[in-house]
Amino acid sequence: MAEARTAERAAQDESHPSGDERFGLLDKTLRKTRYEQDQLIEVLHVAQDIFGHLSEDILIYLARQLRLPPSRVYGVATFYHLFSFTAPGRHSATVCMGTACFVKGAEEITQQLELTYDVRAGETTEDGELTVSTARCVGSCGLAPVVLVDGVVTSHQTVESTLANVGEVVAQESTEASA
């Protein structure tokens, strides 16, 4: 009996009724948290890790699974800054806007990035290449100002060095794509 159940579960993991095996991964987390409603934030984190961002479908799916009103799931997901509802760009440039970085000129760096790539912080360029965002504080205040380019910390940045670094990673991808 127990074996049969395990086999059934394994089968479930492999093929989700939706045909999207990523939902199987999400179900695994739901089972691990025993479908507890207070684990919503944790589950949203996992969902965003799996799918890259939170779409409406995912939110409705989670609401059903956790037996929560969709308004509650939507309300929580939109409350917290780390949840995103649009697909991120292929590359990212995150300017730390902690106090130490601000004091050392992070605002100017953000402005120049916004101007150069014609986006506002938090947005992705139209071609989906680059997401420019700001972070509260990455806790490397001794290295201020700090910019994370594709998640890698670059320290003691200036406008010029940041634009050069970001330009480099964006250009890299394009040459690879065209090659």
Partner: protein, 566 residues
């Protein structure tokens, strides 16, 4: 029942293992040093040690933060029976040389040696950070060898819960989250609460931009936080504990979770802790980027999986908190003080600091200083000592202008207040606050209205929207500051701003709103002329209209705001 750890055995065998090495090389692997390239440095150390190490008597230990983050990556060489040496700005090449030259042939690499007798180190007093930079945070044996979990063993075998509260009361420990509420009072309220189960929450939602004290404590000495929590839970009768950590601190989350698992396996958590009849379950909960969740009622809502909006107090969480049960929220740093107080006694703790603010405080020292990093200083130290002795003065021979403490809830202190002591009461009197421990020093190139605008933008973005004074007040105050900073503000704007500051402070629901005006009020107190200089002179009817720049369009509050990681 889980296996019980024998603390003496573990400590003994760990110390014996250490003594087998003739040299222990400690490599700072904290977030700041890692961003500066500590990863390859550690690899180089290990490879070089392996190559040179014929009798395998060199041990490379990854440790937590050594403090002087501006000189990272840091490496400390500790030969057995000789003075240790600290190296600054280590690259993989230097790391290889450290092993080859210093460790093997005892020749120092002078140009990279960091003097540990300099005031940055000698003026500090480490209690909470005692193990940071000294032990491998991922090994419980290292913590136990430094006396870890001894306080817990003593408490469980020799003290009744009320006696534990008494020791904490005698020590005078106050909340390190910023407000400075006496810790023992909170503990006693939870202990007296009758409803069960009771909950204990460690607040590690450190949202103040420019502060990373709690992260360092959680990353570098996770077992100290856990031990403090077990003692607090025993004293108050809590049966379940949560550590609420920002999602932005993945390393802290990982280390805490691993340490909890290890502690459970060793019989330090779970049922019948260390053979006593005391049970405690601990769990890590992750935030999702909301500054307001540092407020205790909002934090509780977030643990329940809801929007992190605060609720009105009373009832205080110690009466009705998590899931309606008695709950106590303590800051991570507060809890990290507990094992040391129990182990060394209340009197020992009381010797450090001032009569009203006892012990030490950890600060994240940042800004325009020669030395920046993480420091732990006795309460009552003057700002001047922190800035000029520990911080080494203003970088590039600049001029000190102001020190900002308390982040978006705090204020700026100008040069004429440099000699005021750093303790809860003094800072509050001066219009700032201790805060969680961010300390940012600014030189005279900084315009103070810009600083106020920066913090107001932060509060505007982080306002949870539940109460009107904070939700709309921060938007209006930011718009007014924006006008003033852009040079199109008038006298009336400044008057509006000041009156709004009073309203928002008096009528907001929670600490975020109540303290949001602080940066404006304190910069106005000390640097009013900077605001006035930016104002457009009022129209005078002397026949000539003064040139007035056009007003910018009011910002559209419905647009997504810039700033804030979205």
């Amino acid at each position: 029942m889980a296996k019980q750890i024998d603390l003496h055995d573990v400590a003994h065998s760990e110390l014996e293992m250490r003594s087998r090495y003739t040299t222990r090389v400690k490599a700072c692997s904290s977030t700041a040093c890692l961003s500066a390239g500590a990863g390859p440095v550690r690899q180089a150390l290990e490879q070089a040690a392996e190559r040179e190490d014929i009798n395998s008597d060199i041990q490379v230990v990854p440790t937590g933060c050594m403090g002087m983050c501006s000189s990272g990556p840091l490496v400390r060489v500790e030969p057995r029976g000789a003075e240790p040496t600290m190296y600054a700005d280590v690259t993989p090449d230097i790391a290889t040389r450290i092993i080859r030259e210093h460790v093997v042939v005892r020749k120092l690499i002078d140009e990279h040696v960091l003097d540990e007798d300099q005031p940055f180190f000698s003026r500090q007093r480490k209690i909470v950070l005692g193990n940071a930079g000294r032990i491998d945070p991922e090994r419980i044996e290292d913590y136990v060898a430094e006396g870890g979990y001894q306080a817990l063993a003593y408490v469980l075998s020799d003290l009744a819960p009320e006696e534990v509260v008494e020791v904490i009361d005698d020590s005078g420990l106050r909340g390190r989250g910023g407000a400075g509420y006496p810790t023992a009072k909170k503990w006693d309220m939870l202990r007296r609460a009758e409803a069960t189960p009771k909950y204990l929450i460690a607040n590690g939602d450190e949202g103040d931009p420019g502060a990373y004290m709690d992260r360092t404590i959680m990353e570098d000495d996770p077992h100290r936080v856990i031990e403090g929590m077990i003692i607090a839970a025993y004293a108050t009768g809590a049966s379940r504990g949560y550590i609420y950590v920002r999602a932005e601190y993945p390393t802290a989350v990982e280390r805490l979770e691993r340490s909890i698992r290890v502690a459970r396996r060793q019989g330090l958590l779970g049922r019948n802790i260390l053979g006593s009849d005391f049970d405690l379950q601990l769990e890590v909960r992750i935030g999702a980027g909301a500054f307001v969740c540092g407020e205790e009622t909002a934090l509780i809502a977030s643990i329940e999986g809801r929007r992190g909006t605060p609720s009105l107090r009373p009832p205080y969480p110690t009466e009705r908190g998590l899931w309606g049960q008695p709950t106590m929220v303590n800051n991570v740093e507060t809890l990290a003080n507990v094992p040391a107080i129990i182990a060394n006694g209340a009197d020992w703790f009381g010797e450090v600091g001032t009569p009203k603010s006892k012990g030490t405080k950890v600060f994240a020292l940042a800004g325009s200083l020669v030395n920046t990093g993480l420091i732990e200083v006795p309460m009552g130290i003057t700002l001047r000592e922190i800035v000029f002795d520990i911080g080494g003065g203003i970088e590039n021979d600049g001029v000190f202008k102001a020190a900002q403490s308390g982040g978006p809830s705090g204020g700026c202190l100008p040069a004429n207040l440099l000699d005021s002591p750093v303790d809860y009461e003094s800072l509050r009197e001066l219009g700032s606050m201790m805060g969680s421990g961010g300390l940012v020093v600014m030189d005279d190139t900084m315009r103070m209205p810009d600083v106020a605008r920066f913090y107001m933008e932060f509060c505007r973005d982080e306002s949870c929207g539940k109460c009107a004074p904070c939700r709309t007040g921060t938007v209006q105050m930011h718009a007014l500051l924006d006008r003033i900073c852009e040079g199109v503000g008038r006298k009336r704007d400044l008057q509006h701003l000041e009156s709004l500051c009073r309203t928002v402070r008096q009528t907001s629901l929670c600490g975020l709103g109540q303290s949001a005006p602080n940066p404006v009020v304190s910069t106005l107190d000390h640097f009013r002329h900077e605001y006035v200089d930016l104002l457009v002179p009022d129209v005078t009817y002397n026949g000539e209209a003064p040139a007035v720049p056009p007003r910018p369009e009011a910002p559209d509050p419905t647009l997504p705001t810039k700033g804030g990681a979205r």
